[in-house]
């Protein structure tokens, strides 16, 4: 369920964000509690809690005292903007570098991208 690539709490946070982006979890929905996450994924509760708190700090989730954690209004747009940023800064650079390594020129790449968009 989790791999070595990044700290587990980060992967917990990312899973929740993936669900928000896909619409599986809507704004205003309650997300599972720390203990529920811990039990379900068989991870330490403190680790699960850290992932959730990370999202609270980022304004993606908020706590309703005594009830649980919910997806904040505007969370989806916030995430989209964050991911767009990350996409531009890392994916595009990586993509271009990979293309250059293969000797694919700019014109060809542009043509291929346009083709893909039209599908």
């Amino acid at each position: 369920m989790f791999d070595e690539s990044r700290p587990i709490f980060q992967q917990v946070a990312d899973k929740i964000c993936d669900d928000i982006m896909s619409g599986a979890t809507a704004e205003g929905d309650q997300v599972p509690s720390t203990n529920e996450f811990a039990l379900f994924y068989r991870i330490n509760p403190a680790t699960a809690g850290k992932g959730l708190n990370l999202l609270v700090d980022r304004g993606i989730l908020f706590k309703k005292r005594g009830i649980g954690m919910f997806v904040a209004a505007g969370a989806r747009e916030k995430l989209r903007a964050e991911r767009e940023n990350a996409f531009i800064n890392t994916q595009i650079a990586g993509f271009v570098s990979g293309a250059k390594e293969l000797g694919i020129d700019l014109e060809t790449i542009q043509r291929l991208i346009a083709q893909e968009y039209r599908r």
């Binding site: 989790f2 070595e4 990044r6 709490f9 811990a38 039990l39 991870i43 330490n44 403190a46």
Partner: protein, 307 residues
Amino acid sequence: MTAQPAAIEVKNLGRSFGTTRALHDVTFTVPHGAICGLLGSNGAGKTTAMAIITGQDRPGSGEVVIEGMTPFESDAVSEIISFVRDNQRYPDDFRLHHILRVAPLFHRDWDSQFAERLAALFGLPKRTLVKKYSRGQLSALAIVIGLASRAPITVFDEPYLGLDIVARERFYEELLADQAAHPRTFLISTHLVEEMEQIFDQVVVLNNGKVVLDASAEDLHGQATEVTGKYAELTEFIAQLPVLRLRKVGSLASAIIRPGLTSAQMEEARQRGLSTAPVALHDLIAAFGNTYSPDADSEADSRGSQE
């Protein structure tokens, strides 16, 4: 304001058996409510350390402090600790119900209902004499006792021996569920690092009686880096680095570097055509057991070079 004592404090602990140094200057602290994994190869000193921590043996040098008290021959500490060891023996004529009736006498916070539910969950036979229990059933019994004890400090020494994957998963789930409802301090030794590492708050690794790693779960991630590539290129790159282990098969090689590489070093590795990756905890522990010596030129670790 005086500081609260930690649940378990081990300070410069040493223990020898004849000429064998089982533990050497072992120091670590387990805070309240932590699930702490005690890891390391066979013979690393885990069971010796646990016996002293639980008051069944005394330190040779140094000290162990449990909730501010010394555990050896202490009734006060016995009440709050549960340790069912690997070779636990029970009276010859005991069946399951005898044990469940006697256990509350040894454990102040024993929960009978919890014990009954766990015994049923693990399918412990009621009519069989406990002395006839299989390895797996004995482990399950130890788990039932340890969990139902609700002991503020619960110690498990390789609790999974003989348990199949289904039983082991039940153990992890019951442990985590109970920890959520009734937090306590756990100290658990295991060889099944991959299975259990995600439930630990803290990990202490022993090797040859010494602490080689003591880290919280969140700090484990960057402890070491594995660098892989062509042997010639790799040996140049690692020349000045703290190498824990070097593996070589023909011209392929990988090195585990600890502490882990900086991003600048990782970039340099990449530019040399080497790849880098984080090191999983179980690989790190295996590395401790096979440490690198530059003089040996990794002869011991070479395979397949004569084809």
